[in-house]
Symmetry: C2
C-alpha cells in the first residue's frame, strides 16, 4: 500500500473535474492534499467546499492564485489589491492557510517598476491576510514569463522581495518547472528556508522539446528535471510539506482524467 | 543619410539569401558588419567568401557557431572538440576574429556536469584558437534552453565559466533575447567588461505572446525588451562593437527578404 498522504494535486491539473468530483476522486485515491484554484470555486458555496474537503480527510494546502499586481495605471493596482484581498477572504472561507501569488508583469514596463508595484500590492493585502491568518506565497516564475506573468523570475529575486517586505506571512512557493535550471538554486533555497519562508513545493517536469510556453508541462519523469535532487534540496533545508502536482498540459488535459490521476500517482511514486 | 556602419546582420536572419546574395544586399544597404553562419559556407570556397566580404567594405564580425560540447559518451565530447577546432579554422580562413559558442546541454544530465564538459571542451580548442588568433565567445542562452541547448543560462554563469578558464581569447556574446529579464544584468555586464571579455552584442526582441520557443523572435520594437537601456548598459561599460541582428522567426523568414532587410534597418534606427 503506497502512502500518498504527502501528495497534493492542484485542481487545475485535473480541470475536467468540477470541485466535487475532484474531492471524491482524490479521496478515493488516498491523495493527502488539494490545492484549489479559484476557477474551481466559481459559483460554489466556498465554506461547503472546505467542509467537504476536510470531511474527506484531505488537507487544503493552498488557494491558487492571487497576484498580477503590476499595472500601467493606478486604478489597475488598486483593482489588483482588491482582488487579492478577496482571494485572501476566499482562502479563509475555504480553510486554506495560504494564497499562491503569480505576481504579474506588464510587457514594456521595467521589471524593477513591476517589482515595486508587487511589493506595494502585497503590503496593501497584508492587513487582511494578518486578520485572517492567511499566508502569501510568492511563486517565482520561469524567465520565459517575465514579459507578462511575473517580474519575479528566480528564487534570489523572490528572496529579495521577501526581505524587503519582511513579514512572517510572506514567503515563497517553489515550483521546480520555474527554477530547476538555476545555478544558484541551492544557495537560495537555503536562504529561503533559513528565513522560515519556504511555504510550498510544486512539481511537474520539463519536456524536450517543449512545444508550448504555457501548456506543455510534463508529468514527473517525462522530462529532464532531476526531481530526486529537487526533493533532497528542499528536505535538506527542512521542508516537510506537500508535493503539489501542478501540470498545465493540453496533452494531459485531453486524456481521460481517471487514468491521468492514476499516472500521476504512479509517476510520483516512481520519480519523486 | 543614416549611418549603418555599426549594424551587423547574421546570415541566418536573412537565410533565404545565399552568402553571395547576402553580401551584395548588405553592401548595397550600407550595412557595416556581417556574422556568417557555418551553414551559409556549406560547399563554398571560404577564403573567397572572406575576400568578397572585405572587398565590399563589410566587416566580418564573427562565425556562428561552435559549441555543443556536452555529451553522454567520451567520443561525443571528442567529436565536439574536433568540430569546434574545425570552426576555428573556418573562422581563420574566412577572416572572422571570433567564433560564437552555443555551449550545449544534454536533457537529464546535470547542468554542472555539462558545464564541466564545456570548460574541458573550450580548453581543448584553445591551442588551435591561440595559434590562429581566433576568439571564442560564450553566448549565455535563455533558461528555456537549459534542457538541450546550453547549460550556461545567465551572464553570471558565463562569467563564472570565463573566470575558471581565465584566458584572454575566451569571452562572452551578450544576446538581449537571452538575458533581458535578469535582475543581475548590470552587475554581470560590469564584471564582464572589467575583465575585457564583452566580445559581442546581439539584438532582436521578445514578443508577447511568444508562440514558439525557437523561431518566434521579434524584430526590434516588436516586443518588450528595453533596447535603449540594453545599449546604454553595454556602452556604459565600454562596449563599442557592432549591434548584431540575429532573428530566428518563421514569420519573418516567410517574408520577402528585401523588405525584411529594410524593416531591420528602420527598426534599428528607430528602436536601438
Amino acid at each position: 500500500m503506497i502512502d500518498y498522504s504527502k501528495l497534493c494535486i492542484h485542481t487545475v491539473t485535473t480541470k475536467a473535474w468540477d470541485i466535487w468530483t475532484a474531492i471524491e476522486k482524490f479521496d478515493a485515491a488516498g491523495i493527502g492534499g488539494i490545492t484549489v484554484w479559484r476557477q474551481a470555486l466559481d459559483g460554489q458555496d466556498i465554506e461547503k467546499v472546505g467542509h467537504t474537503i476536510r470531511a474527506s480527510n484531505i488537507e487544503i494546502v493552498s488557494l491558487c492564485r492571487g497576484g498580477f499586481f503590476p499595472a500601467q495605471h493606478l486604478g489597475g493596482l488598486d483593482a489588483a489589491i482588491a482582488d487579492n484581498q478577496q482571494a485572501v477572504r476566499e482562502a479563509a472561507e475555504l480553510g486554506a492557510p495560504m494564497v499562491v501569488l503569480v505576481c504579474g508583469a506588464i510587457p514594456g514596463q521595467s521589471l524593477q517598476k513591476s517589482r515595486d508595484q508587487i511589493i506595494a500590492g502585497i503590503r496593501a493585502v497584508l492587513p487582511v491576510a494578518e486578520s485572517l491568518g492567511v499566508k502569501l506565497a510568492i511563486e517565482p516564475l520561469h524567465p520565459m514569463y517575465a514579459d507578462d506573468r511575473s517580474a519575479i523570475n528566480t528564487m534570489e529575486s523572490a528572496n529579495d522581495v521577501c526581505d524587503e517586505i519582511d513579514h512572517p506571512l510572506v514567503g515563497i512557493a517553489l515550483d521546480v518547472y520555474h527554477v530547476w535550471w538555476d545555478p544558484n538554486l541551492e544557495r537560495e533555497i537555503a536562504r529561503c528556508a533559513a528565513a522560515d519562508r519556504l511555504f510550498a513545493y510544486h512539481i511537474c517536469d520539463w519536456k524536450t522539446p517543449t512545444t508550448d510556453l504555457l501548456n506543455d508541462r510534463g508529468l514527473m519523469g517525462e522530462g529532464c528535471i532531476d526531481l530526486p535532487r529537487m526533493r533532497k534540496l528542499v528536505e535538506k533545508y527542512g521542508f516537510t510539506g506537500f508535493h503539489e502536482v501542478e501540470i498545465f498540459s493540453d496533452h494531459w488535459w485531453s486524456r481521460e482524467p481517471d487514468s491521468f490521476l492514476a499516472e500521476i500517482q504512479q509517476s510520483w511514486n516512481q520519480h519523486c
